[in-house]
Protein backbone atom coordinates (compact mmCIF):
# COMPACT_ATOMS: atom_id res chain seq x y z
CA UNK A 1 0.00 0.00 0.00
CA UNK A 2 1.50 3.35 -1.02
CA UNK A 3 1.94 6.19 1.50
CA UNK A 4 -0.67 8.26 -0.35
CA UNK A 5 -3.20 5.45 -0.09
CA UNK A 6 -2.56 5.19 3.63
CA UNK A 7 -2.82 8.98 4.01
CA UNK A 8 -6.01 9.33 2.01
CA UNK A 9 -7.43 5.97 3.06
CA UNK A 10 -9.72 5.90 0.04
CA UNK A 11 -10.04 2.10 0.04
CA UNK A 12 -11.39 1.83 3.57
CA UNK A 13 -14.59 3.07 5.20
CA UNK A 14 -14.20 6.55 6.69
CA UNK A 15 -13.67 7.03 10.41
CA UNK A 16 -16.61 8.67 12.16
CA UNK A 17 -16.51 11.04 15.12
CA UNK A 18 -19.39 11.01 17.58
CA UNK A 19 -20.09 13.89 19.96
CA UNK A 20 -23.52 13.47 21.55
CA UNK A 21 -26.05 13.33 18.73
CA UNK A 22 -23.52 14.71 16.21
CA UNK A 23 -21.95 12.11 13.94
CA UNK A 24 -19.57 13.21 11.21
CA UNK A 25 -16.95 11.47 9.09
CA UNK A 26 -13.38 12.72 9.32
CA UNK A 27 -13.21 13.53 5.56
CA UNK A 28 -16.34 15.69 5.81
CA UNK A 29 -14.99 17.40 8.93
CA UNK A 30 -11.69 18.13 7.13
CA UNK A 31 -13.54 19.67 4.16
CA UNK A 32 -15.65 21.89 6.46
CA UNK A 33 -12.60 23.00 8.48
CA UNK A 34 -10.67 23.79 5.26
CA UNK A 35 -13.60 25.83 3.89
CA UNK A 36 -13.96 27.82 7.12
CA UNK A 37 -10.18 28.40 7.20
CA UNK A 38 -10.15 29.57 3.55
CA UNK A 39 -13.09 31.89 4.25
CA UNK A 40 -11.35 33.40 7.31
CA UNK A 41 -8.04 33.79 5.44
CA UNK A 42 -9.81 35.44 2.48
CA UNK A 43 -11.22 38.05 4.85
CA UNK A 44 -8.05 38.84 6.81
CA UNK A 45 -5.24 38.40 4.28
CA UNK A 46 -4.36 41.56 2.32
CA UNK A 47 -4.89 41.40 -1.44
CA UNK A 48 -1.64 42.04 -3.39
CA UNK A 49 -1.36 45.51 -4.90
CA UNK A 50 -0.89 45.83 -8.65
CA UNK A 51 2.47 47.64 -8.72
CA UNK A 52 2.76 47.52 -12.51
CA UNK A 53 -0.01 50.06 -13.03
CA UNK A 54 0.03 53.77 -12.47
Amino acid sequence: MSPMTVLAGVNDPATYLHVGWVSISVPNLIVIVVMVALFALAIVLPFPKDRGRR
Partner: protein, 227 residues
Protein backbone atom coordinates in the same frame (compact mmCIF):
# COMPACT_ATOMS: atom_id res chain seq x y z
CA UNK B 1 -39.08 58.14 -55.04
CA UNK B 2 -35.80 59.73 -54.01
CA UNK B 3 -32.83 57.84 -52.65
CA UNK B 4 -33.29 59.49 -49.23
CA UNK B 5 -36.94 58.36 -49.01
CA UNK B 6 -36.02 54.80 -49.95
CA UNK B 7 -33.20 54.74 -47.38
CA UNK B 8 -35.58 55.99 -44.67
CA UNK B 9 -38.10 53.25 -45.54
CA UNK B 10 -35.39 50.60 -45.41
CA UNK B 11 -34.19 51.93 -42.03
CA UNK B 12 -37.73 51.87 -40.68
CA UNK B 13 -38.18 48.27 -41.87
CA UNK B 14 -34.88 47.06 -40.41
CA UNK B 15 -35.60 48.85 -37.12
CA UNK B 16 -38.72 46.70 -36.72
CA UNK B 17 -36.89 43.41 -37.37
CA UNK B 18 -36.60 41.14 -34.33
CA UNK B 19 -32.84 40.97 -34.74
CA UNK B 20 -32.60 44.78 -34.56
CA UNK B 21 -34.89 44.97 -31.55
CA UNK B 22 -33.00 42.16 -29.78
CA UNK B 23 -29.65 43.85 -30.50
CA UNK B 24 -30.89 47.21 -29.18
CA UNK B 25 -32.35 45.59 -26.06
CA UNK B 26 -29.13 43.65 -25.43
CA UNK B 27 -26.92 46.73 -25.89
CA UNK B 28 -29.19 48.80 -23.64
CA UNK B 29 -29.02 46.24 -20.82
CA UNK B 30 -25.47 45.02 -21.31
CA UNK B 31 -23.22 47.35 -23.33
CA UNK B 32 -19.73 46.03 -24.21
CA UNK B 33 -17.98 48.05 -21.48
CA UNK B 34 -20.16 46.32 -18.87
CA UNK B 35 -19.93 42.88 -20.49
CA UNK B 36 -16.12 42.95 -20.66
CA UNK B 37 -15.01 45.61 -18.17
CA UNK B 38 -11.38 46.61 -17.73
CA UNK B 39 -11.88 48.35 -14.39
CA UNK B 40 -13.54 47.33 -11.15
CA UNK B 41 -14.37 49.19 -7.95
CA UNK B 42 -11.59 49.41 -5.35
CA UNK B 43 -13.40 47.11 -2.90
CA UNK B 44 -13.08 44.19 -5.35
CA UNK B 45 -9.37 44.01 -4.43
CA UNK B 46 -10.05 41.38 -1.74
CA UNK B 47 -9.52 37.61 -1.66
CA UNK B 48 -13.20 37.05 -0.83
CA UNK B 49 -14.09 38.17 -4.37
CA UNK B 50 -11.97 35.51 -6.10
CA UNK B 51 -13.99 32.41 -5.19
CA UNK B 52 -16.65 32.95 -7.83
CA UNK B 53 -14.13 32.98 -10.65
CA UNK B 54 -12.23 30.08 -9.04
CA UNK B 55 -15.47 28.08 -9.17
CA UNK B 56 -15.84 28.90 -12.87
CA UNK B 57 -12.21 27.87 -13.52
CA UNK B 58 -12.65 24.42 -11.96
CA UNK B 59 -16.05 24.08 -13.65
CA UNK B 60 -14.22 24.35 -16.99
CA UNK B 61 -11.81 21.60 -15.83
CA UNK B 62 -14.82 19.45 -14.89
CA UNK B 63 -16.39 19.96 -18.33
CA UNK B 64 -13.13 19.17 -20.16
CA UNK B 65 -12.33 16.03 -18.14
CA UNK B 66 -15.98 14.96 -18.31
CA UNK B 67 -15.88 15.13 -22.10
CA UNK B 68 -12.78 12.90 -22.15
CA UNK B 69 -14.40 10.42 -19.73
CA UNK B 70 -17.60 10.33 -21.80
CA UNK B 71 -15.77 9.58 -25.04
CA UNK B 72 -13.27 7.10 -23.59
CA UNK B 73 -15.69 5.21 -21.32
CA UNK B 74 -15.37 3.28 -18.04
CA UNK B 75 -13.35 0.46 -19.58
CA UNK B 76 -10.61 3.06 -20.11
CA UNK B 77 -10.89 5.24 -17.01
CA UNK B 78 -11.08 2.27 -14.61
CA UNK B 79 -8.10 0.41 -16.06
CA UNK B 80 -5.44 2.76 -17.51
CA UNK B 81 -3.14 5.17 -15.66
CA UNK B 82 -4.18 8.16 -17.73
CA UNK B 83 -7.79 7.11 -17.27
CA UNK B 84 -7.34 7.04 -13.50
CA UNK B 85 -5.72 10.47 -13.64
CA UNK B 86 -8.54 11.93 -15.75
CA UNK B 87 -11.16 10.34 -13.50
CA UNK B 88 -9.41 11.76 -10.42
CA UNK B 89 -9.12 15.23 -11.99
CA UNK B 90 -12.86 15.12 -12.70
CA UNK B 91 -13.61 14.01 -9.11
CA UNK B 92 -11.29 16.42 -7.28
CA UNK B 93 -12.28 19.35 -9.50
CA UNK B 94 -15.85 18.67 -8.40
CA UNK B 95 -14.79 18.75 -4.74
CA UNK B 96 -13.07 22.10 -5.33
CA UNK B 97 -16.04 23.39 -7.37
CA UNK B 98 -18.44 22.77 -4.49
CA UNK B 99 -15.98 24.11 -1.89
CA UNK B 100 -15.40 27.33 -3.85
CA UNK B 101 -19.14 27.74 -4.41
CA UNK B 102 -19.83 27.32 -0.68
CA UNK B 103 -17.17 29.93 0.27
CA UNK B 104 -18.52 32.23 -2.50
CA UNK B 105 -22.01 31.71 -1.05
CA UNK B 106 -20.84 32.52 2.50
CA UNK B 107 -19.10 35.68 1.31
CA UNK B 108 -22.13 36.87 -0.65
CA UNK B 109 -24.55 35.97 2.15
CA UNK B 110 -22.67 38.00 4.77
CA UNK B 111 -22.41 41.01 2.46
CA UNK B 112 -26.13 40.71 1.56
CA UNK B 113 -25.26 40.47 -2.12
CA UNK B 114 -28.90 40.66 -3.21
CA UNK B 115 -28.89 44.43 -2.56
CA UNK B 116 -29.09 46.92 -5.44
CA UNK B 117 -31.55 44.99 -7.63
CA UNK B 118 -29.40 41.86 -7.54
CA UNK B 119 -32.13 39.45 -6.36
CA UNK B 120 -32.08 37.51 -9.64
CA UNK B 121 -28.28 37.23 -9.46
CA UNK B 122 -28.63 35.71 -5.98
CA UNK B 123 -31.44 33.36 -7.06
CA UNK B 124 -29.60 32.07 -10.15
CA UNK B 125 -26.56 31.42 -7.94
CA UNK B 126 -28.60 29.45 -5.43
CA UNK B 127 -30.29 27.38 -8.16
CA UNK B 128 -26.91 26.76 -9.83
CA UNK B 129 -25.61 25.53 -6.47
CA UNK B 130 -28.57 23.15 -6.04
CA UNK B 131 -28.22 21.91 -9.63
CA UNK B 132 -24.51 21.32 -8.99
CA UNK B 133 -25.36 19.15 -5.98
CA UNK B 134 -27.67 17.11 -8.23
CA UNK B 135 -24.95 16.85 -10.87
CA UNK B 136 -22.39 15.69 -8.29
CA UNK B 137 -24.88 13.18 -6.89
CA UNK B 138 -25.64 11.63 -10.29
CA UNK B 139 -21.88 11.63 -10.89
CA UNK B 140 -21.33 9.54 -7.76
CA UNK B 141 -24.00 7.15 -9.09
CA UNK B 142 -22.26 6.94 -12.49
CA UNK B 143 -18.86 5.78 -11.22
CA UNK B 144 -19.71 2.17 -12.15
CA UNK B 145 -18.04 0.74 -9.06
CA UNK B 146 -19.04 -0.57 -5.61
CA UNK B 147 -19.13 2.96 -4.24
CA UNK B 148 -21.87 3.98 -6.71
CA UNK B 149 -23.84 0.80 -5.88
CA UNK B 150 -23.61 1.58 -2.18
CA UNK B 151 -24.70 5.21 -2.66
CA UNK B 152 -27.62 4.29 -4.91
CA UNK B 153 -28.97 1.71 -2.47
CA UNK B 154 -28.59 4.13 0.42
CA UNK B 155 -30.35 6.90 -1.55
CA UNK B 156 -33.24 4.97 -3.07
CA UNK B 157 -35.24 4.62 0.15
CA UNK B 158 -34.97 8.32 0.94
CA UNK B 159 -36.01 9.35 -2.58
CA UNK B 160 -38.87 6.83 -2.58
CA UNK B 161 -40.03 8.28 0.72
CA UNK B 162 -40.41 11.74 -0.82
CA UNK B 163 -42.19 10.20 -3.83
CA UNK B 164 -39.75 10.84 -6.69
CA UNK B 165 -38.43 7.28 -7.06
CA UNK B 166 -40.81 6.43 -9.91
CA UNK B 167 -39.24 8.88 -12.36
CA UNK B 168 -35.85 9.48 -10.70
CA UNK B 169 -34.62 5.94 -10.08
CA UNK B 170 -31.14 6.05 -8.56
CA UNK B 171 -30.64 2.31 -9.17
CA UNK B 172 -31.16 2.86 -12.92
CA UNK B 173 -27.56 3.34 -14.04
CA UNK B 174 -28.42 4.40 -17.60
CA UNK B 175 -30.86 7.06 -16.39
CA UNK B 176 -28.38 8.46 -13.86
CA UNK B 177 -25.52 8.50 -16.38
CA UNK B 178 -27.61 10.28 -19.03
CA UNK B 179 -28.90 12.85 -16.53
CA UNK B 180 -25.35 13.39 -15.27
CA UNK B 181 -23.65 13.67 -18.66
CA UNK B 182 -26.32 15.07 -20.99
CA UNK B 183 -28.83 17.10 -18.97
CA UNK B 184 -27.39 18.59 -15.77
CA UNK B 185 -24.13 19.99 -17.24
CA UNK B 186 -26.28 22.02 -19.65
CA UNK B 187 -28.47 23.23 -16.76
CA UNK B 188 -25.49 24.21 -14.60
CA UNK B 189 -23.68 25.76 -17.57
CA UNK B 190 -26.73 27.81 -18.55
CA UNK B 191 -27.26 29.00 -14.96
CA UNK B 192 -23.57 29.91 -14.55
CA UNK B 193 -23.57 31.95 -17.79
CA UNK B 194 -26.83 33.67 -16.79
CA UNK B 195 -25.43 34.37 -13.31
CA UNK B 196 -22.22 35.88 -14.71
CA UNK B 197 -24.15 38.04 -17.21
CA UNK B 198 -26.28 39.36 -14.33
CA UNK B 199 -23.13 40.12 -12.32
CA UNK B 200 -21.75 42.00 -15.33
CA UNK B 201 -25.01 43.91 -15.75
CA UNK B 202 -25.46 44.99 -12.12
CA UNK B 203 -21.78 45.08 -11.21
CA UNK B 204 -20.01 43.48 -8.26
CA UNK B 205 -21.84 44.18 -5.01
CA UNK B 206 -20.12 46.49 -2.55
CA UNK B 207 -19.38 45.63 1.09
CA UNK B 208 -22.15 46.69 3.48
CA UNK B 209 -20.22 49.66 4.84
CA UNK B 210 -18.99 50.89 1.45
CA UNK B 211 -22.03 52.54 -0.12
CA UNK B 212 -25.68 53.25 0.46
CA UNK B 213 -28.09 50.41 -0.16
CA UNK B 214 -30.17 52.80 -2.22
CA UNK B 215 -27.62 53.05 -5.02
CA UNK B 216 -28.64 50.41 -7.59
CA UNK B 217 -25.66 50.67 -9.91
CA UNK B 218 -22.53 50.42 -7.80
CA UNK B 219 -19.99 50.11 -10.60
CA UNK B 220 -19.10 53.53 -11.88
CA UNK B 221 -15.96 54.84 -13.53
CA UNK B 222 -15.38 57.14 -10.56
CA UNK B 223 -15.04 54.11 -8.26
CA UNK B 224 -11.91 53.01 -10.06
CA UNK B 225 -9.79 50.25 -8.53
CA UNK B 226 -6.59 51.71 -9.94
CA UNK B 227 -4.62 53.96 -7.56
Amino acid sequence: MTTETRTAEVDETTDRMWTSRLRRAWLAKLPPDKLLPDRQPAYVASWIYVFGVLAIAVFLVILATGLVLAFAGPAWYHTSSVGHLTNSLHFWSTQLFLMFMVIHLWGKFWMAAWRGRRALTWITGVIAFLASIGTAFTGYLSQSNFDSQWISFEAKDGLNTVGVGAFFNVTNYGQMLLIHACLLPLVVGFLVVWHVLLVRRRGVVAPLDAVSNDVPDLVKPTEDARP
